[in-house]
Symmetry: C2
Subunit: 323 residues, 2 copies
């Protein structure tokens, strides 16, 4: 150990993503309306009891979604924002440390959601406030989405809920998680594949199956999926580490173990990984939005992925992740 | 306690389902071929190490699927049988008591499957034999199914995997499970909704959204879903109870608690519940296959639900559930 100075005070290297995703990022004129509607929706479905936490979450969600889909119509933005609020509030209420303390209780909470996602609208038991809110979201989604869009999105929601369970089971045991396991599960816990699937519904286009399964698009989606999780990991590491207990279940922790290095070196490695993924994503977006391809749904989807990635790049600096 | 005689020797009342589902049940001419193909598939993907267990499972699966879809073509039957084999073998290998001992290990096993179900064909880490077999099944399913059929079926597979986790978390704590929780989750642990979704793929028809969401069809599917789980519970209770430990996570256990009654009375109640669901299902099948309705996909689906229900009725007597 040749480090000097208190580790908590040492600045950690962060990725430079401006080359691949240069700001300023476009923002929807509805940003304020999204925030107001989100507050109202949480009034109807009180998923968060603390008024302060509610305000903070609605603010970041409003600004985040306004950057995620800057050209979307208001109803699409409202639905998307409420969906993200729901996931985040569920994770905060029952996932993470709470879920790690009692995974069986988290499983029972998720069971209600699985019942609703499977389309059995009336759970035989009592409906929780999260169940009622999810039902509201699924009704609105059913109105707006095609059948396949609905099926895709609800599949991703199941994966998000499973991701929370996976995280809860490993939060206190990051040593049981390999880098490749982490890489496979992280997109689900950061909800990014759900956001990518929501793009079609929010912006009102539909990929053909051939477009969806093209190698370029799959590679682009996987680059954005990685990038989103890793950015979040770097942005929130300090806050998570400050909570004490085992090392955060986060990319830097796994890199320290894999490379037998210190936190600064792990951040350097992770930053490089982010920059590489951002460059890969940027190049694929350029390809897919170039002459010819840029016209149809594929070009539209590539532009959506660009603004989705940009919203995560924007998030890196937002206060939710400051201690 | 006014009971006399050793409880394990007392005969327990079983439902009389012959009025609603009178045998003999039609059986596919491919029954033997299904069994042979299943053995071959398990040779390629060795999911079960004991040769005896492999033979027993292929035999019951061959005979079960041949009764589930007596009119299906051979390829459809093979796919369906392998899917059921996979689910059963996964549950036997990692779910139930094994899952209850180490739910985090079960979560990691499921994580690989979720990755494949989400369509990310190459898991970043090593592929297990269950992963390789699942990939084979998904490839075959993609060949045969429409996009929506594929999405529906893979959603049900996720729900089955979640059901195994739910069961593992509660196997030693049936007291944490309410009757309504149980009723909501039981169809997923017995795989019956997956079988109902597989009907369209196996028999080559597709319901319209209007047909799928009709009240009569939803009620019929829910009756068959209940019936399948409850029949299995009654058929396997003795075997599960003989393993010792806490009371089986099974309908009779929950009914004993809810009604503060003994096992005989719980079996009487459960048998009555089965008979009522069978009667409800039988009447709906008669309606939906009657004049006019019986022609299109809706009639075809109702007939498929009839043979699916019959296969569970048939299962009640099969040796897998004898101690
Ligand atoms: Mg989280
Ligand atoms: Mg984080
Ligand atoms: Mg089982
Ligand atoms: Mg059983």
């Amino acid at each position: 150990m040749t480090d000097t100075g208190h580790p908590a005070l040492r600045p950690l290297p962060m990725p430079d993503l401006g080359r691949s995703f240069p700001g300023p990022f476009a923002i929807s004129p509805h940003a304020h309306a999204i925030e107001q509607q989100a507050l109202q929706w949480l009034g109807e479905f009180p998923l968060i009891s603390s008024p302060r936490a509610r305000e903070v979450l609605c603010n970041i969600t409003g600004h985040g979604i306004a950057r995620t889909f800057p050209t979307a119509d208001q109803d699409g933005l409202f639905l998307c924002a409420d969906l993200l609020l729901w996931l985040t509030a569920f994770d905060d209420a029952y996932g993470e440390a709470t879920g790690a303390r009692d995974p069986a209780a988290l499983v029972r909470r998720i069971a209600e959601c699985v019942h609703l996602l499977a389309g059995h609208a009336e759970p035989p038991g009592e409906t929780s406030v999260f169940g009622a809110a999810l039902r509201n979201l699924l009704d609105r989604l059913r109105q707006r989405a095609t059948v396949t869009q609905y099926l895709r999105l609800t599949a991703h929601l199941r994966d998000n809920l499973f991701g929370m369970l996976w995280e809860a089971q490993h939060l206190d045991h990051p040593e049981l998680v390999s880098l490749s396991d982490y890489r496979a599960m992280r997109p689900h816990t950061v909800f990014v594949r759900t956001v990518m699937a929501a793009a079609e519904v929010t912006l009102d286009y539909e990929l053909t199956e051939a477009q969806r399964s093209s190698a370029a698009l799959r590679e682009l989606e996987s680059a954005v999926a990685d990038l989103a999780g890793w950015i979040n990991d770097l942005a929130s590491y300090r806050k998570e580490a400050a909570q004490g207990g085992p090392a955060p279940l986060s990319l830097p922790t796994l890199l320290m173990r894999a490379h037998d290095c210190d936190l600064g070196e792990a951040f350097r490695l992770a930053s490089r990984m982010c920059e590489d993924e951002a460059a890969r994503a940027g190049a694929l977006i350029t390809d897919l939005t170039g002459t010819g391809d840029g016209e149809g749904a594929l070009g539209e989807h590539a532009r959506a992925l660009q603004s989705i990635a940009s919203s995560y790049v924007w998030h890196i600096a937002h206060s939710r992740y400051r201690s």
